[in-house]
Assembly symmetry: C2
Homo-oligomer: 264 residues x 2
């Protein structure tokens, strides 16, 4: 059987209902193109695309999009040299890029969360699974110990921490990606009684300000922001492992990208 991009996409999306506003899309790419190799990554960055080309992979599956936006492309890019150069590279290479965002988040359990928990070695600690968060009971650790543990496990250089760093924690709420905002993260403290929320990214004036106030009032609360890519890349690495097992005849690679920020 010829392994086409359409076949892989159908396999990934089987049984998942998506809203018609979904951002998941094969673009560029044709469902009939034969897949020579697959690369998975957090985003279809210039680096990831060049790596895919040098690996001979013609199909890239990424969680975030190609052009620095969740939904519609920023109009300002149309005359931008970075956009032109990247577009030309993609067109010349004839690769297909599949944005795999909404579907994997709708897996039961969320595939990106599964990847993160596996990378942390915490998958056996989950006591509750919500649509946008996992609740864990872990062996007691202080917030600063959790931060060091995460940095070592995920090979990341820093995390941003709000609240009590010396507080011992057992009950942990984890949200990947941009789910660190107040609507999703704050209720975990009251409704799920978590000591600490670990999230990817969120507005600074929402959950971090709430945690700051809570601690100033004498409550025990903490928040660890991993970074958006840092929280979701493990899910795309996990996807590469799964695809590799399901399609053993296809070369499948996860590309670890460079962090967007350094701390100065």
């Amino acid at each position: 059987m010829t392994m086409t991009m359409g076949l892989i996409v159908n396999h990934l999306t089987k049984g998942i209902s998506l809203p018609h506003t979904t951002v998941d899309l094969l673009d560029p790419g044709s469902v009939d193109t034969e897949v020579q190799g697959i690369v998975t990554a957090f985003s279809a960055s210039q680096y990831v695309i060049e790596q895919a080309i040098s690996l001979g992979a013609n199909f890239i599956i990424t969680h975030e999009g190609i052009f620095y936006s969740h939904q519609r492309m920023h109009e300002c890019l149309l005359h931008d040299p970075v956009f032109s150069q990247k577009s030309r590279l993609i067109a010349d290479a004839g690769i297909g890029i599949y944005r795999f965002h909404d579907t994997i988040h709708r897996y039961q359990p969320d595939g990106v969360m599964v990847g993160l928990l596996q990378a942390l070695g915490w998958h056996n600690y989950m006591v509750k699974q919500q649509p946008t968060a996992a609740i864990l009971t872990i062996p007691a650790m202080k917030v600063k110990e959790i931060a060091e543990y995460i940095k070592a496990k995920l090979h990341i250089r820093y995390v941003r921490v709000a609240g009590e760093v010396s507080m011992p924690c057992e009950r942990v709420g984890i949200s990947v990606g941009y789910r660190g905002g107040g609507d999703l993260a704050i209720p975990l403290f009251l409704n799920e009684n978590v000591d600490v929320v670990i999230a990817g990214e969120g507005p600074e004036w929402e959950t971090p300000e709430y945690v700051k106030d809570a601690v100033y009032q004498g409550h025990s609360r903490a928040l660890i922001m991993l970074g958006h890519a840092e929280s979701e890349a493990p899910g795309m690495k996990y996807l590469a492992d799964v695809l590799s097992a399901q399609f053993p005849m296809l070369p499948v690679h996860f590309i670890e990208d460079h962090p967007v920020f350094q701390i100065l």
Copy 2:
């Protein structure tokens, strides 16, 4: 003449047209209440409110809101002890809180930007003023030197930097608050030919990913994210200086709050 909260609000908003969706509001508070003293701050945090009370100031003017949200309050807070405790403190103290966000951003030039440029000692370097950014020509400095300069001037412990840290820069684009997103920040590179954008906060998958791609392609680009509060607090400090000069009979204090995050 009695200095009422209404008089101060009228003074601050004179000549400024606001959309009917504005978040600027005196709540709690009455226009007829006599002002005993004014506190300005980035946000009406528990710490800021307690400081205002201990200073005998009954009128707080803040840029961001009280309850961790830009517009409507998160419903999840209604049964939250942090919300209850803060609400009770505000009610018991009988203070007025004026959210001063949209108006100060509509000053010509933007009052928050003026405060930041003054704090950086860069107000004489502005060559162009846009509604959401200032364009500066500064004496040439490397990105990492700019980062160190900013940290020293604003007394902040870290900045997040994307792109080329050793690149010399002369043309700088500055945006305060949550104006670091792709729509506002990316065009500064092409249309304004800036070497570096300095912003408060923005989604990590937008401008930072663009800068990463640009540098990987061989373009010279950099981005310095100051933090949301770090970029806007100087504007509220500047406001305190202005109000103090305009109302010499009133005690006016700027409260420097603690940073929400520490880096681990």
